[in-house]
Every structure is written in structure tokens, then in C-alpha cells.
Symmetry: C2
Subunit: 335 residues, 2 copies
């Protein structure tokens, strides 16, 4: 009455060949005479044989599975990347083990370890900050790792990103050009390199070019949630900002709603530039002006890069920087 699986051995017996031959036809090995191949295929079909991927994995030391560490699937920025990852993965016959990390350091390390225990062939990491411990685990294991939408100043593993610094500089420059002298910088924690280093540097560079002194009181740190954005608007306003560059779309939506709910007109009285180009930016009114990151592509390219690393193919460059653009939509006055 138990799930009596039929194995490669059953197929071999029924087809009067050896297991090795069945294995060969299953794996598309060319060293099989067409007539035997046909015979085996028929038996496979008749018995409805389905190769056991676990046994395969043990014997071949390949699981055709990659681990994907994501802060939160519910965040449109990351889920868009994840979508690109999964599409390319399935194109290359890989499956994805998806694990939410909640940007919780110990949990990340633990998740990484269970992924490695499951013998994934590669790992794609999305996150905000790579702790030393995590970095150590990355380099200790021989499993290839690619960062997607995530930078690590210590460029040891592969990564796919855009140039956050120049994109930010350009956005802020736009804001300044529209007459805003006090532009707020709103992002997640400054401990995260993308915020604390790249974006902030871009922001400062834009100020500098406009001969505006950097004012620490215009820099705000918040959670990546619209709730947090709504709450922070008041402080931004109090700081005298007339515009804001925001490092996350959901946060930007919150900030905008904070303004709107107080009767502040956007963009007439307050301009907003956001950074991620998730579909959220086009779902709210006014539509958010944004840096147009190719989210899906970042995931897709990251996965493609990972396939190369897993195959030990030569790769020109492990640190990939994709192009971006700027879209002035409804939250900026610029013509």
C-alpha cells in the first residue's frame, strides 16, 4: 500500500538493458543506439518512471537547485528581482530555494548554512548589508555566490547592480535644478553600503556641484515600509526640506502620503524622487519620479552569471553594472 516508487532498476529490467543504459538515455547521453533509446523511452513512458532527483544529486554531486536569500518576498523591489532570477533559473533547468532573511544577521547565517547543507549548486543573495560572518561563510564554501541588487565593498563574489552613486547624483541634481535648495535624503539605515556610501556620496556630490553645503539634519533613516514613510514626513517638513530623494519606493509612497494627508501638494509644494522603479511607482497618484532600474534584468543577469560560475565557465567580469535611466513622472516639477 506504500508509495512503491519505480526505480531505474525496474526500467532496466523491463527494457532488458542495464541501469547504466537507462541512465544514459535519461541524461541524453549520445552513446546509445537509437533503437535501444526508443525501447527504453517506451518503458519509461509505460511505467511512468520519474528519476529521483535526490539520488541523482547524491551520485552526481549536483542538485540543479540554487538558494536565493531574500529580505522579504513581500517587498516589490526584491520580488521583482526574484522574478528575474526564477525565470532564468528555470530556463537553465534550475530550481530556486527561496528563504526570507528579514535582514536578521544570525538568521541569514543560519539560512545560508541550511542552503549549503542542502547542497545547492549556487547562491544568490539579496540584502542590505553583508556581515563579516556572512562574508566569511561565503568565501569558506566553494559554492559560487552572486549578489543581486546588493553591493559588497569587498568585491570577492559576483554581483549585479546599477551605479547607485551616479544615479542618485543625477536625481538630486534634477531636484536642485528645479529650485529646491533643501533636498532631504531619506533612506534605510546608513549602515547599509548602498545608502550610507553610494547614495549618500551621490547626494553629496550633487550638493557640491550646486555649491550647497551638506546639512546632516536633512538626512533621515527609516524602515522600508510605507508606514515609516508616512511617519517621517513631518520631520522632513520640519527640517525645511522642499523635496526628497528616497531610497526605496514603498518608503517614498509613504512619504508622499504623509504629505498628501497633510494637504501638501505634490509636486507643487513638495517634490519626490524615488530609487527603485518598482511597479508601485506607477500605481500611485501622482506617479513617482524615479531612477529606472531594470529590476527584472538585475535578477536575470545575476542568475545568468551564476550559471556561468556554476559551470566554471570563463567570465569576463564578475562585477556587473547595468545601465539605468531617470524618469520624471508626477512627483517632480521638471519639464
Amino acid at each position: 500500500m506504500e508509495k512503491q516508487t519505480i526505480t531505474i532498476y525496474d526500467v532496466a529490467r523491463e527494457a532488458n538493458v542495464s541501469m547504466a543504459t537507462v541512465s544514459r538515455v535519461v541524461n541524453g547521453n549520445p552513446n546509445v543506439k537509437p533503437t535501444t533509446r526508443k525501447k527504453v523511452l517506451e518503458v519509461i513512458d509505460r511505467l511512468d518512471y520519474r528519476p529521483n532527483a535526490v539520488a541523482r544529486g547524491l551520485a552526481s554531486k549536483k542538485t540543479t537547485t540554487v538558494g536565493v536569500i531574500i529580505p522579504d518576498v513581500t517587498n516589490l523591489y526584491f520580488s521583482s528581482l526574484a522574478r528575474g532570477i526564477d525565470d532564468i533559473a528555470s530556463m537553465y533547468k534550475y530550481n530556486i530555494i527561496l528563504a526570507n532573511s528579514d535582514q536578521n544577521d544570525p538568521k541569514e547565517v543560519q539560512v545560508l548554512n541550511t542552503l549549503l547543507a542542502k547542497q545547492v549548486d549556487g547562491i544568490i543573495y539579496m540584502g542590505h548589508k553583508i556581515t563579516d560572518e556572512l562574508r566569511a561563510e561565503f568565501s569558506r564554501s566553494k559554492t559560487p555566490v552572486v549578489l543581486a541588487g546588493t553591493v559588497d565593498p569587498d568585491e570577492q563574489v559576483g554581483s549585479v547592480n546599477i551605479d547607485y552613486e551616479s544615479a542618485t547624483e543625477q536625481s538630486v541634481t534634477n531636484l536642485i535644478a528645479a529650485g529646491n535648495e533643501r533636498v532631504a535624503f531619506v533612506s534605510g539605515s546608513r549602515m547599509e553600503p548602498i545608502n550610507g556610501i553610494y547614495r549618500l556620496n551621490g547626494y553629496k556630490a550633487a550638493l557640491e556641484k550646486a555649491h550647497i553645503p551638506f546639512d546632516e539634519s536633512l538626512v533621515f533613516e527609516a524602515d522600508y515600509s510605507f508606514i515609516s514613510g508616512e511617519a517621517i514626513y513631518e520631520k522632513v517638513e520640519e527640517a525645511g526640506a522642499t523635496a526628497a530623494f528616497v531610497g526605496d519606493d514603498e518608503l517614498a509612497v509613504g512619504l508622499m502620503n504623509g504629505a498628501l494627508d497633510r494637504g501638501v501638494q505634490v509636486p507643487e509644494e513638495f517634490e519626490i524622487f524615488t530609487a527603485n522603479n518598482s511597479k508601485l511607482t506607477e500605481m500611485v497618484r501622482p506617479k513617482l519620479s524615479t531612477i529606472t532600474q531594470p529590476l527584472y534584468d538585475i535578477g536575470a543577469v545575476a542568475m545568468r552569471l551564476l550559471t556561468k560560475l556554476m559551470n566554471k565557465e570563463e567570465t569576463d567580469e564578475k562585477t556587473i553594472v547595468l545601465p539605468y535611466n531617470i524618469a520624471n513622472r508626477g512627483t517632480t516639477k521638471g519639464e
Copy 2:
């Protein structure tokens, strides 16, 4: 130079015990003397031994991995469910293989087959419609299946949902009570049971109680995208509707924007009730009035149910219906 993994055998040798004993301490089997346990644990730690989950899976016929089929991670409704699923899964030491199906029938069957080939211990399916072929695969395999946010009229597998029919009836009744005589019904394909059967029946029931005849021209089918919603508003307006019940939040956002972009006031001139309570409903302005489904919980409960099925525990009921509520927010006039 190769990744020379250290195996259970190495640990056994170093600790002067048999593999079996090492296996026992790794698996927390009580039949091992405290002193030996300690000794083994030390060696494990010193050698930095990490059990190979693939070998484990082969030997034990359990992979502690469940397959999750999702139409699109990028859809907030489903990703919210997925979040609940993953949290409970990791609580029970399971990992999730996430596969996007794009509601593409052949792809779904293929995805299911590769999940089964990978010997997942269970499957959670999210989707819109279960084809006969898929249903056949479900019942053919002995692997437990639970549907999350997905109904199958033929209740053979476990499922977790809310009562879509009465929730819809209640929402539409609200709309009618507010004075709307022509309420549009906007959803995804009517081929999908949730739309074509449950919600539509709820809609009809509400009309009937108000003695309003059902008018086929007020029923609209659309894709689950805000683009599609924007496009359809015009038709809804032409049909003379002054309000709409919408089966998907992103679609509802689109519909609302279609109205807003034409200068139609919401809710003053057009009221909207949506169905999923994703965070989208609170991110747009006005906030969408909605059926408040416990999205996270649906996923969580589904995963919990699956763990019971995987352990062959007795379960009172495989078809779980969770409570919902109604939230009148900014897109309805009713107090």
C-alpha cells in the same frame, strides 16, 4: 584542491565511534550516552562537519523541503501568502522551493513534476484554476497537497480560504446600501472558480436581496494588473456603473486610477470595493475599501496544515475557512 567535504565517516573515525552513533547524535536520538554524545559533538565542531542533506534525503526519504507553486511572486496577494508559508515552514525546519507558474497550464504540470522529482515532502499550490490534468497529478502522487487562497470545487486536497461568496455578498450589499443601483463586477477570468462561481454568486445574491436584476453587461473580466484596470474603467463607466466590486487589489488600483485620471472623484462619483487586503490598499489615496482577508495567515495556516498531512497526523478538517472582515476605507461613502 577540490571541495573535499568531510563526511559522517570522518567524524566517526575521529571520535572512535561508528557512523550510526554519529548519526544518532546528529539526529538527537536519545539512545546515546551523554559522554559519547559530548565527544562526538566536539569532533563535529572541530571538523566543522555539516551533514549532507541530499544523502540524508535519499536514506530517509524525507527532504524537509516543500514545493510552492505561485502564479507570480510579484503579485502582492500571493507574495503575502508566500511570506506566511515560508515563516511557518522555517519554523518547522522546512525549506521552500518556489516556482512561478504564470497560470500557464502546461508549465504548471511541468513544474509540479519537477517538484515531485525532487522528492519534496509536500506541496502548496496557489493559483486560479486547477486543470483536470493537474488535479490528476495531485491525486496520483502520494505527496500531500494544500491549496492556499485557491479553491477547487472538487475538494480532494487540503485548502485554506475565506468564504469568498459571503464576503462578496456583504461588500456588494454595502455598495448597494450606499445608493448604487448599478454596481460593476470586475474580476479575473470567470473560468476561475473563485471569480466565476463564488464571488459572482455572492454578487448575485446581494443583487437579489436588493431586488436588482442581474445585468450581464456589468460583469467585466480583466488581467490581474493595474494597467488592465486603468484600461477597463472606461468600459465600466460606459456601462453606467457608479460603483464596482473588484476581485484583485492591483486591478482595483488600476480601475481607481482610470477614474481619477479622467477627473472622476472617488468615492463621491464612483465607489470601489476590492477583495484582497494587500498592503496596496493602504498605499494608494484614497485608501481602498476592502474585504480584509488575513493573507499572511492563509499562507501560515496552509503550511501548518501541510505539516500535519506530511506527518500523517489526524486532522479534523482539511478544508479550512478563515474569517474575514470588511473595511470601509476611502473608496466607499458609507459610514
